[in-house]
């Protein structure tokens, strides 16, 4: 939908971050900085010299002596918020998950272990899956939207948003993660097996589909339920047509204050932590495949795990004025105006009559339906006619991303619809 430059996004995964000394102890980890929107964190460094291996070797920073000089002097080594990356190689659960997803051996198990750590379990961006999930989310949204748009070029925008959500939204990705056999840990921590999904209900996490712009009037939109036009949703809102919340101004915490109420806000905690964490894991796996195996492999993975699922698009429509819309459609396309004709009926005087009504434009029958009354049958017939218009599909056509390959055939333009009937 919106153009996504995921070449740039992948850089932030390799970008350097300051050393971990800012959050050394348990107490200061509780009061860590707020998870800002990810595009604010992006650092575009052209010299991507840090490889994932080096990132993981920096895990030793965890155990540096200066960490233990804090409040927890009695304890020699403070507990990490998430398992040490070295333990990933010894986890049978993680190896089984790696094999179950048929991941390439190019993807190290440490990366898969990192994909299982939600930002609510470990706030450090080098040890959680936020960056990977951001890359994966952009890829998932890109491939889903291009597949839907080329396959069903006449879908209205609201249906397209709903279909995007049905394929690549949080609920669908949550189900995919469950179908992969990912289990959640009871509570995150250092001692947990790295093969478990780790998230915490108490800590804030990162919502992944923060693409659009926060509208200036977003508070009023929420409070007074103002109407949002479809065109402004395309331009301003996120890929699923949902409102992007205004980033809250979180007051800076003073270091001396140990207990602060600043983070204790409802908005910072997502509604369904479990669903969000599972969905982020799927996104992070896609991101890891893209970074280690390339875009073609990531595309195949998305196709086989996300787009192969079944969603009946004809069940997504909810018409309010089908007959008026059909009349407008016929006028726009220079068809004869639609006429409803009674094809057959039975039991008009009984308790359960059935009428079969067909909608004709000239001599062409556009749609037909049966109903318990003449009006119901007529509007059902109009709905059938409209659905057969909207769900037109040119069949299997090439996708724009097919031309990314080196030896790809030149792009053949696909059918583009002129737009919605009544907007």
């Amino acid at each position: 939908m919106k153009r996504i430059r995921y070449q740039q996004l992948s850089r932030q995964w390799l970008a350097t971050t300051p050393a971990r000394s800012a959050t050394p102890s348990q107490v200061s980890r509780l009061s860590r900085p707020a998870p800002t929107a990810l595009h604010c964190q992006r650092r575009c460094q052209s010299s991507t010299s840090i490889t994932p291996d080096e990132v993981f070797s920096e895990a030793e920073v965890h155990d540096s002596p200066e960490e233990s000089t804090n409040i927890h002097e009695v304890r020699s080594k403070p507990l990490l918020p998430s398992p040490h990356p070295d333990r990933a190689l010894r986890s049978a659960k993680l190896a089984a998950l790696h094999a179950r997803l048929s991941l390439s051996s190019k993807i190290p198990r440490q990366v898969l272990a990192r994909a299982l750590v939600d930002p609510s379990a470990d706030a450090h961006p080098k040890f959680n899956n936020a960056n990977l999930a951001f890359v994966g989310a952009s890829l998932l949204q890109y491939h889903t939207s291009e597949w839907l748009v080329t396959r069903y070029p006449r879908l209205p925008m609201s249906i397209l948003f709903a279909a995007m959500k049905g394929y690549a939204g949080d609920p669908a990705l949550h189900r995919i993660a469950r179908a992969w056999g990912v289990e959640a840990a009871a509570a995150p921590g250092e001692e947990v097996d790295p093969g478990y999904l780790q998230f915490s209900h108490n800590n804030p996490t990162v919502k992944m589909h923060k693409w659009g712009y926060a509208r200036a009037e977003s508070k009023e939109l929420n409070k007074y339920k103002w109407r949002r036009g479809m065109s402004s949703r395309i331009v301003l809102d996120d890929p699923f047509g949902n409102l992007v919340d205004e980033p809250e101004d979180i007051p800076q915490e003073t270091d001396g204050l140990e207990v602060s109420d600043a983070r204790n806000k409802k908005d910072l905690v997502v509604q369904n932590v479990d669903k969000n964490a599972h969905a982020n894991f799927v996104r992070a796996v896609v991101g890891a495949i893209y970074l280690h195996c390339g875009s073609e492999t990531a595309k195949t993975f998305i196709k086989s795990h996300v787009l192969s699922r079944q969603l009946d698009l004809s069940n997504l429509f909810n018409f309010s004025l089908p007959q008026r819309e059909l009349t407008r459609l016929c006028a726009r396309e220079n068809f004869d105006p639609p006429v409803a004709r009674l094809l057959s009926e039975t039991g008009r005087l009984s308790r359960t009559p059935v009428y079969v009504v067909g909608i004709y434009s000239g001599y062409d029958k556009l749609g037909e339906a049966a109903g318990p009354s003449l009006d119901a049958a007529k509007s059902a017939a109009a709905i059938n006619a409209l659905k057969s218009w909207y769900l037109y599909s040119p069949g299997e056509v090439g996708l724009p991303s097919d031309t990314f390959a080196e030896d790809a055939a030149p792009w053949k333009p696909v059918y583009v619809d002129i737009g919605e009937i009544i907007s």
């Binding site: 179950r100 669908a172 995919i176 056999g181 079944q310 969603l311 997504l316 018409f319 079969v356 049966a370």
Partner: protein, 137 residues
């Protein structure tokens, strides 16, 4: 804005697109002393490592269970588990049982008496009494 969208979630079918092996974990319990575990001990010594390397999707856990019969327990993605007591079996029989657990889907065993089970809409659709020429009585 005459069309509003309803929210639906896509439905996955294992094997369409990608296949995920449904057995995710296998527990293998044995006893060192009892005679009923003799075959199981031979299975663990000679065949388990090969079986495990052929099936990397499954997490294997071997643990002793003294003074009890040997058991194989398969844990499945849908949350269910199946256990098979393998007392007095030889190692090849146990291998067969392990393969049975590996290939199971974890679902309850159901009688299948329809040739096709599908979530797709029928191409021919349901017969309608209001269409066609009808039959004169």
């Amino acid at each position: 804005m005459t069309i509003r969208a309803l929210e639906k979630v896509s439905v996955g079918q294992n094997g369409v697109g990608a296949f995920i092996l449904q057995c995710r974990k296998m527990d293998i319990h044995y006893c060192d002393q009892s005679g009923s575990s003799r075959g199981m001990n031979a299975f663990i010594k000679s065949q388990l490592s090969k079986f495990a390397s052929r099936n990397p999707q499954i997490e294997f856990a071997v643990s002793p269970r003294p003074r009890k019969h040997p058991v194989l327990i398969g844990h499945y993605i849908n949350g269910k588990h199946k256990s098979i007591c393998v007392k007095n079996m030889d190692s090849l029989q146990i291998l067969k049982k392990a393969e049975l657990l590996r290939d199971a889907s974890g679902e309850k065993i159901k009688r299948v008496n329809k040739p096709i089970t599908s979530i797709n809409e029928s191409v021919r659709s349901v017969w309608s009494p209001y269409h066609g020429n009808g039959m004169p009585v």
